[in-house]
Symmetry: C2
Subunit: 494 residues, 2 copies
């Protein structure tokens, strides 16, 4: 059952959705995942393997969660302390969700936003992870063929989540490095006009704040511009805020929820928030997706649709207890932010020493790394060439910007929070050797490596780079292994 073409027999038998490759799993982009799957790094068992830096997971704060669970056996229905609730919880399938779960989620979402805004538990709607929650909102808002404007670069799997089964369309709002990839009114209008010219009905704008892959947060003015834009065109604004607790330094994260409360003429019924615990708490396996809409009908319909992807009541029950422990939540959020900040600082500082810069970011579990100066020429073909060297020779699975629909070649998303410190060291050492190797080659033709060599078109990546040389000495005892599971098959990670 490999990923081959659909045979003629099945082309006649199955739906267009099944026949077409709307899922997007077969793109070249996924070669990196395959490379990792075929040869995953392990500090002891496979020290020369591929390091997974394409996985937007947050593994830095698990210890706190595990400690909490150890101290709260009553929170689980599978302990002697909690077993008496097993029957009522295992039986529970009300699509509103456990009342205490909704209440705890609303409270948690408020705390993540610094307590500056309150969420109403009656508007908390469950989806099957962020993946299911995103699709549900689109089913509520769009008919087949309707379009959404999405600032690019954007999350690679939006094509699956937003378009595949809903048959809606995405029109990118092109952003670029000239203003640090910020969304402008002009760019929004250009995309809107493009959709109109293609006879598409634009139903809304979808942003991810903090941004995946940029790791930056939207400022208040841009959020206000967006609200004004959707107000003017009477279209929806969907704000995917699944990385909101990953903000680790200034500026503070501003949720659309705050803007909605502050702007006088905001048509609230156009505003919808997506949330999840996969990134902010590092619990992707629990499949907690949340839709928070200010539109009553969307709340009602999305809730009816949540029957297609409810959160297991066993999981709701556990999280209800955990998230309503305010002390724990306060400590967790502070510590999680601190750990992400430290990891980010260390990672970017080391890259900087090597002459590699990243977009200045304050959030997320990844950096947006600028390797434009290493491109043979400023094309996506050259980006892919460089990327293949990084995958096959440096043995790091990073994600090329093209997979996030960016317009400028040479950017790469590099995840830093899905591994332990020792693995980070190995990755950094590999990058260092890689750059040094290039620079040595360059010395013969150009100059010393420096940030000023940005966009130096003379660089060639024709050398044979062996990742094995510098690996051996760097293998430390890493207590954790990378997940062996194919990222091809992940619900919402890349």
């Amino acid at each position: 059952m490999g990923f081959h073409q659909i045979d003629e027999r099945n082309q006649a038998l199955l739906s267009k959705i099944a026949i077409d490759d709307g899922h997007g799993e077969n793109s070249a982009y996924f070669d990196g995942w395959k490379a990792y799957d075929n040869n995953p790094f392990h500090p002891e068992n496979n020290p020369l393997g591929v390091i997974q830096m394409g996985l937007a997971e947050n593994q830095l704060s698990f210890g706190m969660i595990v400690d909490w669970i150890r101290k709260h056996p009553e929170a689980s229905i599978c302990t002697p302390e909690g077993l008496e609730k097993f029957k009522s919880i295992a039986n529970f399938q009300d699509y509103h969700g456990l009342q205490e779960f909704r209440k705890a989620m609303a409270s948690f979402m408020g705390k993540v936003r610094g307590g500056r805004v309150k969420f109403d538990p009656s508007r908390i709607v469950m989806g099957g992870g962020a993946t299911g929650a995103s699709e549900t909102v689109i089913f509520c808002l769009a008919d087949p063929g309707d379009a959404f404007l999405v600032p690019s670069p954007y999350y690679a799997a939006f094509d699956r989540d937003l378009k595949w089964r809903t048959r809606a369309q995405i029109i990118p709002v092109h952003c670029n490095s000239s203003n640090n990839f910020q969304v402008t009114e002009a760019a929004l209008e250009i995309a809107y006009k493009k959709a109109q010219e293609a006879n598409m009905k634009v139903k809304g704008v979808i942003i991810t704040n903090p941004s995946n892959p940029l790791g930056t947060t939207y400022d208040r003015d841009t959020l206000k511009t967006l609200v004004t834009f959707v107000n003017q065109h009477d279209i929806h604004l969907i704000c995917d805020e699944i990385y909101s607790a990953t903000v680790f330094k200034a500026p503070t994260f501003t949720s659309i929820a705050e803007i909605v409360e502050q702007m006088e003429h905001c048509k609230k019924e156009l505003i919808h928030i997506l949330y999840s615990l996969s990134k902010d708490m590092g619990l992707p396996g629990f499949r907690v997706g949340i839709i928070y809409s200010y539109n009553d009908v969307v709340v009602r319909r999305a809730r009816q649709m949540s029957s297609f992807g409810l959160v297991s009541s066993q999981t709701q029950h556990l999280l209800a207890a955990m998230l309503s422990d305010e002390d724990f939540v306060d400590k967790f959020l502070a510590e999680n932010s601190k750990r992400l900040g430290e990891r980010h600082a260390r990672f970017t500082k080391e890259l900087d020493k090597m002459g590699i810069t990243c977009l200045n970011s304050n959030a997320g579990v990844f950096v947006w790394m600028d390797l434009r100066r290493l491109l043979k020429d400023q094309t996506f073909k050259a980006e892919m060439e460089l990327w293949r060297v990084i995958i096959n020779e440096v043995k790091l699975n990073v994600s090329p910007g093209s997979s996030f629909h960016v317009t400028e070649p040479g950017w790469f998303r590099v995840c830093f929070a899905n591994m332990d410190d020792n693995t980070v060291d190995v990755a950094l050492n590999r990058i260092h050797s890689f750059v040094e190797n290039i620079d040595k080659k360059e010395d013969n033709t150009v100059a010393m490596p420096s940030k000023t060599r940005h966009r130096d078109n003379k660089l060639r990546l024709s050398f044979s780079f062996s990742g094995r040389r510098y690996d051996k000495g760097n293998v430390l005892n890493s207590p954790h292994t990378m997940s062996p599971h194919s990222p091809l098959v992940r619900a919402r990670t890349y």
Copy 2:
């Protein structure tokens, strides 16, 4: 946020799916759920309340599951014994599911079918409950407008599960009491022709075996007829087997999996099985839906789609351990079947004494009760009148046949496994008083109550029947309360 009409503003803003009431929650049928919600029976707190007999839940075997969990703390990631696995499980989101979960599910499905057939773990695909699993298969097989033939009476929420978001259509295959509602080739052909005449492309047949609401199993010959029919027309056969472990007496349950293995000319790529643990193990809150397809492409695509409704890895992990305990599974299946059989025998025997017959059944958590003789006339209007008396006066929420798209008025689905023995007693006493009351009235005009008065059109239900009179003496100490949660909002229970 009541269930009102969609206002004009939202009619302009939202999708057709959101505007139309494809979910079906607003039908008159749900008045019964509302009646229960507004006044739920409780043996001590509300002994005159409505008893919920519209909920297809299996609560008879929870004790065994609870015992198993008590003895296996290592099966949970929230116990000191299992906590070390917390990180890897909470992180796990591979859409194949935990290998041990798929293996255990495949083994369990084989055992449920008496070990007569084996299931391949690599074909086990997760869906968000049976609700999500059903929709996923339709997304794989049908384009909008395509039709499926479904023998009626059928599960009331198929309209939501199969049609709502996929935009597929259902054409009922009308079955009736003349042959105990068995599906015939002639009925299939009539439905097929009807679809063709309506210019619909028929993509398949969907059966529920054991049947909901009939509580009967399909015999081998009928299953073979179905396979021959889909082979001839080159369309799909989806077998919803979510009640397969509820068979409590002969004849033995035959899965389509057995027929597929036995028939020489079966086009396997047309056959798909739906499964779940909501009924067979009574765990609807855990949202375990399974798609088992013999078509490789459907397996692949359904698995990609499962990202919209994966089972929480916490729940997968627990069930993997439980279902791979073969001793436990064997005992559970035997005991569950025994308890359902005992409850069914007791319930139908008592009804029989009152002159009320049910369709002879061997499975399920409900009976298909024949109240045709109590109808004013043989119309669905009369069925609704009788039903309103049962709801409002007898205070039992049973489900009228019309909600299952049956063609003959006067049948009611009555659930018997979602309550304890004492609640059953109260329900039986209420029915007894109800019938006695009718018979007393009848005595003045017709004859003594007897089964021979079947289809006696002279009966009128114009009396004022107070359920309160006979309730008070019957209230025993029932240790369990009915779920207070609105069945309006259940994922897949009615």
